[in-house]
C-alpha cells in the first residue's frame, strides 16, 4: 500500500458505511418475500486523522463493535466505502491485505478470550510477526520492545507461561502488546477495560493513553463509558441504532451535549470516573431493535422531545458549530 498520499489525507475515512445482518432463517419466513434485516450500521460517515484518538460512544447493541470490525476488514460492508490512507480497503487482498493488517490493529474487549489457550505468551506475541512474514531474527527484539511499551517485564519473565496463568490486567496488556508488535498506525480498542476488575482499569487505560501519545497512533476507542472516552479521546462520536447522532470535541460534547440521546447518556453518569462500575442507562425503554428500515428519527420512540416531524423525516447529521455535528430536527 502506498503510504500517505499527502499529510492531509485522513488516515481512516468511511463514507456511507452500512452493514445489514440477515436474520436467522425460520420456517415461517419462507412465505414472506422480504425478511427484515438488522441494520447494525447505517450510513455512517467518519474520518480519523493521523495520531488522533476518537471515541465511539453508545449503548449495547447500537453497532459499535460492528463499526470497528468493518473498519478493520474483519467483515465486509453491505454498502459504503472505507479508505485507509487513501486506499480503498474493500479491494485489498494478498500482500496488500497483509500490509493493511500490519497498520491497523485491534485490542479486544475480553482479554481472557483473546489469547489462544494453547499458545504460550511468547508464541502469542510472536504470532502476528509470523503471520505477516516479518524476518524471524527480529522477532525477539520486537516482542521485547512491545512488552516494554505496555510496561510489562521482559519476555524471560513469561517463559513457558500460558494465558490462564496471568491476571486480567496483565492479559490485557499482552493483548495490547500483540497489537503493538506490528507497529501499527491505527488501533481499534473495543471496550478495552470493560471486562477488567475496576481496580486495574486505570492502570491499563493509562498505558494505552501513553503508548498512543508517544507512538502517535490513531485510535478508535469503543465504549459505553463516558469516563473512558473523556479520559482518552479528543473527539467523540455518539452512536444510536447504527447511526452517528452527534459528533464533537470530547470536552465540548460532554459539557454541552446537543442531541437528546447524548443528554440522556450524560444524565446517567453525572461525574464520569473510569473506576466506576457501569449501571444501565436511566432512559425510558430499551434500545428498540434495528430491524427493518424505519422512517424518521431512530431515537423517536424514546425521545422526550419528539415532534410530529420526527416520525417521518430522518434527521441528517448537520454541522451546527465548528467541529460539531448533530442529527436532530430540534438542534
Amino acid at each position: 500500500m502506498a503510504t500517505g498520499l499527502s499529510a492531509t489525507t485522513p488516515l481512516v475515512e468511511a463514507r456511507g458505511l452500512t452493514k445489514r445482518f440477515a436474520p436467522p432463517a425460520r420456517l415461517t419466513d419462507m412465505f414472506r418475500k422480504e425478511r427484515p434485516h438488522t441494520h447494525a450500521v447505517n450510513k455512517v460517515d467518519l474520518t480519523i486523522s493521523r495520531g488522533e484518538s476518537i471515541g465511539l460512544l453508545g449503548e449495547s447493541g447500537c453497532g459499535k463493535t460492528t463499526t470497528g470490525r468493518l473498519l478493520l476488514k474483519l467483515i465486509e460492508p453491505s454498502a459504503g466505502d472505507i479508505l485507509f490512507d487513501g486506499t480503498a480497503v474493500a479491494g485489498l487482498a494478498g500482500p496488500s491485505l497483509i500490509d493493511f493488517r500490519k497498520r491497523a490493529q485491534l485490542v479486544f474487549q475480553n482479554p481472557f478470550d483473546a489469547l489462544n489457550p494453547r499458545f504460550t505468551i511468547e508464541r502469542a506475541l510472536a504470532e502476528p510477526l509470523v503471520n505477516t512474514g516479518v524476518e524471524r531474527a527480529t522477532h525477539r527484539d520486537r516482542v521485547e520492545k512491545a512488552l516494554s511499551q505496555v510496561r510489562l517485564p521482559p519476555l524471560a519473565r513469561f517463559e513457558g507461561l500460558f494465558p490462564h496463568q496471568l491476571s486480567g490486567g496483565q492479559l490485557q496488556r499482552i493483548v495490547l502488546a500483540r497489537a503493538l508488535v506490528l507497529e501499527p498506525d491505527f488501533i481499534v480498542a473495543d471496550e478495552p477495560v470493560s471486562m477488567l476488575d475496576v481496580s486495574v482499569r486505570a492502570g491499563v487505560l493509562n498505558v494505552m493513553r501513553e503508548v498512543r501519545a508517544s507512538l502517535g497512533l490513531a485510535a478508535l476507542y469503543i465504549s459505553h463509558d463516558l469516563a473512558l472516552v473523556r479520559y482518552v479521546c479528543s473527539r467523540t462520536l455518539v452512536m444510536y441504532l447504527g447511526r452517528i447522532v452527534e459528533e464533537g470535541p470530547t470536552e465540548d460534547l460532554l459539557k454541552s451535549p446537543l442531541h437528546p440521546y447524548t443528554r440522556a447518556l450524560m444524565k446517567a453518569v453525572p461525574v464520569p470516573r473510569v473506576d466506576q462500575s457501569r449501571d444501565p442507562l436511566p432512559i425510558i425503554g430499551n434500545v428498540s431493535d434495528a430491524r427493518g428500515q424505519p422512517k424518521g428519527c431512530s431515537f423517536r420512540d424514546r425521545c422526550p422531545l419528539a415532534i410530529a416531524r420526527c416520525a417521518d423525516d430522518e434527521p441528517a447529521l448537520r454541522s451546527v458549530a465548528p467541529g460539531r455535528r448533530v442529527a436532530c430536527h430540534l438542534v
Binding site: L115, E127, P128, R151, A202, N206
Partner: protein, 302 residues
C-alpha cells in the same frame, strides 16, 4: 491517576501448567479406564509378540503321537486351549487373531478420526455451500445400514479384511464430523480466532494452527470409540461368513466353532476364548472413550 507498575511477584513461577497432564492423572485414578488401558496394552503386546507366543502354526492340522489327526482335543499341556474339530490349535489361533483385531481396530479408528475431523473442520469453518454439501453427504452415509453395506462391499471386492475397515470409515465418519463441526462453530467465534485474522493469519493457518488443536482431543475420543466398533464389526462380518478366509480372526474362530456344532458339543474351550476377547476389547474401547471424555469435559463428573 498513577501508573500501575506490575508487581514482580505477581507472575507465577515459570512452569508449563498443563491441563492435559492433570487429565491423564484423573484417568489413572479411574478403575475402568485403567482396566481399559491394561487390556489395550496387553492386546498390543500380544499382537507384537504373537510369533513367540504361539505354540503351533494356527493354520496347520496337528497330529498326535500315534499319527492320527488331533481333533477335538481337550485343554492340555500340548494344546493350551485344545484343538478344533479339524485338529488346529485354538490357543495359537487366538493369539493370531489379536493381530487382526489390532490392525482392523487401529486402521479403522485412524480413518474415522482423520476423515471425520477433516470434514468437520472444513464444514464448520467455511460454512455455506461447503457445509451444506458435506452435511448432506453425512446424512446419506448415516442412513446406510451397517452390516448389509459391508456384506455388499465383500460381494463387490474379494472377501477381504479391508472391506471392514473401509466400511467402518465410510459409515462412521459422520458422527465424528458432526461433533467436530459443532465444536468448530463454537471455537471460531472465540476472540482469539478473530485476533489471528486481524494479525494477518490466512484461513488455512487459522483452521489448522488455531482451531484444530483446540478440537483435537475430540478426535481421539471418537477414534477410540471407532476401535471397538471396528473390531465388533469385523467379528460380526466374519461370523456371518463374509470375512477374509485366509486370515485368522476371532470372528472367524467363532464362526468355525458355530458351524462345527462346538456349542452343542459343549466345547467351551473353543467358542468361549474368542468371544471373551472380542467382548473385552470392545468394552475397553468404550471405557477408554469414557475416560477420554472425562479428561475433555471434566464437568461431567459429579
Amino acid at each position: 491517576m498513577a501508573n500501575v507498575q506490575m508487581p514482580a511477584q505477581s507472575l507465577p513461577a515459570g512452569q508449563g501448567g498443563n491441563a492435559f497432564v492433570a487429565g491423564l492423572r484423573r484417568i489413572l485414578r479411574d478403575p475402568f479406564s485403567v482396566a481399559a488401558l491394561v487390556i489395550y496394552v496387553l492386546l498390543v503386546l500380544v499382537a507384537i509378540f504373537a510369533d513367540q507366543l504361539m505354540t503351533h502354526d494356527p493354520t496347520q492340522i496337528q497330529f498326535r503321537a500315534n499319527g492320527r489327526v488331533a481333533t477335538n482335543q481337550p485343554v492340555s499341556e500340548a494344546f493350551l486351549l485344545g484343538t478344533t474339530n479339524l485338529g488346529r490349535d485354538i490357543y495359537s489361533q487366538l493369539i493370531a487373531g489379536s493381530r487382526n483385531a489390532l490392525m482392523v481396530g487401529v486402521t479403522a479408528a485412524i480413518s474415522v478420526a482423520a476423515l471425520g475431523t477433516l470434514v468437520g473442520l472444513l464444514s464448520g469453518y467455511f460454512g455455506g455451500r461447503i457445509d451444506a454439501f458435506l452435511m448432506r453427504l453425512a446424512d446419506v452415509a448415516l442412513a446406510i445400514p451397517f452390516l448389509p453395506f459391508v456384506i455388499v462391499l465383500s460381494g463387490f471386492f474379494r472377501a477381504n479384511t479391508w472391506n471392514v475397515v473401509i466400511a467402518v470409515a465410510l459409515l462412521l465418519w459422520p458422527n465424528t464430523a458432526r461433533v467436530i463441526r459443532s465444536q468448530v462453530l463454537t471455537v471460531k467465534e472465540r476472540a482469539y480466532v478473530e485476533a489471528a485474522r486481524v494479525t494477518g493469519a490466512s484461513d488455512l493457518r487459522i483452521l489448522f494452527v488455531h482451531v484444530a488443536p483446540n478440537i483435537l482431543p475430540l478426535t481421539f475420543l471418537y477414534g477410540s470409540v471407532a476401535i471397538g466398533w471396528a473390531i465388533l464389526t469385523e467379528a460380526a462380518v466374519s461370523f456371518v461368513g463374509f470375512g477374509d478366509p485366509s486370515r485368522i480372526s476371532w470372528g472367524f474362530m467363532l464362526q468355525d466353532a458355530f458351524v462345527s456344532q462346538a456349542l452343542s458339543r459343549g466345547s467351551w474351550n473353543w467358542f468361549l476364548p474368542p468371544g471373551i476377547c472380542i467382548i473385552m476389547v470392545v468394552i475397553a474401547g468404550f471405557f477408554l472413550a469414557r475416560g477420554a471424555e472425562e479428561v475433555l469435559f471434566p464437568k461431567l463428573r459429579s
